[in-house]
């Protein structure tokens, strides 16, 4: 027997990224603009999606793919109740969606019937950041009660995103949240990032975000 060193230098996430590219091609072929929403549990992902659907009703046809760790259809049911098609992907306990899972979700969604696809990732600030899905824009929702130190503690999720939504700003008077400190952390990691402050409860700021999304979808 002989020993031999085989040089490789292959990215560990390469296989996922190749399938993500396939997903993007499928979306592009159907003229669908897709976003991947990542956030902690309880930041308001589903509420933001419902508010977005409301703000864009009659303007865009929206489909939603819900990533959940358990086969609980609470989120998908809310989307369907709002009159939009929803597909639930059960990750089987996995902490994130990956490109293969989204690929299976795309098969179940009639892409000819939608203009915008919203993917709700599993509530988690760490794992989803490592797995490209093939969507066109990554969106992170931060919420005031989570605290102003999150960009410093979870830098990865703040780096690979195109839009940041800061939700629950109606709670600012009640919570010790230093917006300048929070925004400085974001600016270090992602200079000039498009950011919208909003409250799903009061509706403040929702329209500006919906307008941005509408413009992006129409341009694609």
């Amino acid at each position: 027997m002989a020993s031999k060193i085989v040089p490789i230098v292959e990215k560990i996430m390469d296989a996922n990224e190749q399938i993500a590219a396939v997903n993007q091609k499928i979306l592009d072929d159907h003229n669908v603009f897709a976003i991947n929403i990542m956030a902690s549990p309880g930041s308001g992902k589903t509420s933001v999606i419902l508010k977005t659907i409301e703000a864009l009703r009659g303007k865009l046809r929206i489909g939603v793919i819900e990533g959940d760790t358990a086969p609980v259809t609470i989120d998908a049911d809310k989307i369907i109740a709002a009159g939009m098609p929803a597909v639930q992907i059960n990750t089987g306990g996995n902490c994130h969606l990956d490109a293969v899972m989204l690929n299976r979700g795309l098969e179940q969604m009639d892409l000819n019937e939608i203009d915008l696809l919203i993917v709700e990732n599993v509530g988690n600030l760490i794992c989803p950041a490592g797995f490209a899905l093939g969507t066109h824009a990554n969106v992170v929702i931060a919420s005031i009660p989570e605290g102003d130190d999150k960009p410093y503690k979870y830098p990865n999720i703040y780096r690979g995103l195109e839009v940041l939504l800061i939700n629950k700003i109606d709670l600012l008077p009640y919570i010790n949240f230093n917006m300048d400190y929070f925004r400085q952390g974001v600016e270090i990691l992602n200079p000039g990032l498009t950011t919208f402050e909003m409250s799903c409860r009061t509706g403040e700021g929702v329209q500006a975000w919906a307008d941005w999304l509408y413009a992006k979808t129409k341009r694609s």
Binding site: K4, I5, V6, I12, D14, C95, C127, I188
Partner: protein, 116 residues
């Protein structure tokens, strides 16, 4: 955690290159992992022992080369560690920074045994 998916990817890469090179077995796998990857070495090792069972990678040793995360100031060019989280440039206070290292995440090489 997502170490299981990552470990399966590492196995696929090691198997593909090992078989291409005519390996009877893979004895060592060298990984280069930047600090920004949020991967726990011990977890990867734990899953590795599971997923390699009955493959040519069974009993292969994993080696981790860890690359610390650093940022470089675009204003004064100072490079500094961000192991304790991102921060303004310690020299000039600028927040115009770029990550200069720590994103590495690849299989660098494998060591194999093959028939003479």
């Amino acid at each position: 955690m997502h170490e299981l998916s990552v470990t399966e990817n590492i196995l696929q890469i090691a198997l593909k290159h090992g078989l291409q090179a005519g390996a009877k077995s893979v004895t060592d796998v060298h990984l280069v992992i930047g600090a920004l990857s949020s991967i726990v070495d011990d977890s990867v090792q734990f899953y590795w022992d599971m997923v390699t069972e009955n493959t040519i990678c069974e009993k292969a040793q994993l080696h981790f080369t860890r690359i610390p995360a650093k940022m470089k100031c675009q204003n004064c060019q100072q490079e500094f560690s961000i192991d304790n989280g991102p921060q303004p440039c310690p020299s000039c206070g600028s927040i115009n920074l770029r990550v200069s290292q720590g994103e590495e995440f690849w299989v660098e090489s494998i060591e194999i045994q093959k028939e003479e």
